[in-house]
Amino acid sequence: MIQLQIAPFDPGTLLSAFCKDRQEIGAVASFTGLARAEQGQTLALELEAYPGFTEGQIAACLETARTRFGLVDAYIVHRIGKIAPGEAIVFVATAASHRRAAFEACDFLMDYLKSRAPFWKKEIGADGHRWVEPRDQDHVDIARWETP
């Protein structure tokens, strides 16, 4: 399931729901991305998505992850709108028979979400705002998954 939402969410509530009644799944990996205060330099983040298009692009990546890692299930929740420091921005959970697949799929989905997913992020500081682009490290991270 892929969900974009404006309201804050509690990652634990999502993880509980995702783990419930899984009798045959051995492994659940999750990742939660939190907004950093950067020692007070960042007052808030503001995230923009393209409704419909953004979910569609994420769904295509999820389909790749299903095939590539033998993923059984996944749950992706992404905030849009204004996000305060300490709040969760993104939650990804993956379920698989064994932990290697669950970890790798979660890692892969996060690398995609952080570098290629259609979001536009504004950092709001005390002295104005700036649009953020992926860090060099994000490009390095996503490149790990490309077959040579």
Binding site: G33, L47, E48, Y50, G52, F53, G56, H78, R79, I89, V90, L113, K114, S115, R116, A117, P118, F119, W120, K121, K122, W131, V132, E133, P134, D138
Partner: protein, 79 residues
């Protein structure tokens, strides 16, 4: 005619994010946007800006209809 959407910094530069504009191809639409706002025109031609027509990424020219949705997407920042 098309519904035009601007995302990220493009919306800030233009001062709008959603507008209906008269044009029957992508090329003519871009011409009209550049003409109306040279600053936005510069930003639209910058490297890394992608175009989605009816929520599908496209390159080159395409015909537009009254129900077309054209989105200009600056480099994505990720979540």
């Amino acid at each position: 005619m098309a519904r035009v959407l601007l995302f990220g910094r493009l919306g800030d530069i233009a001062g709008w994010r959603d507008q209906v504009i008269e044009a029957d191809t992508l090329t003519k639409l871009l011409g009209r946007l550049i003409e109306a706002d040279p600053g936005l025109g510069e930003a639209l031609k910058a490297p890394g800006v992608q175009v989605a027509l009816d929520q599908v990424l496209v390159r080159g020219d395409r015909p537009l209809t009254a129900s077309s949705e054209v989105a200009y997407l600056p480099p994505m920042s990720g979540g």
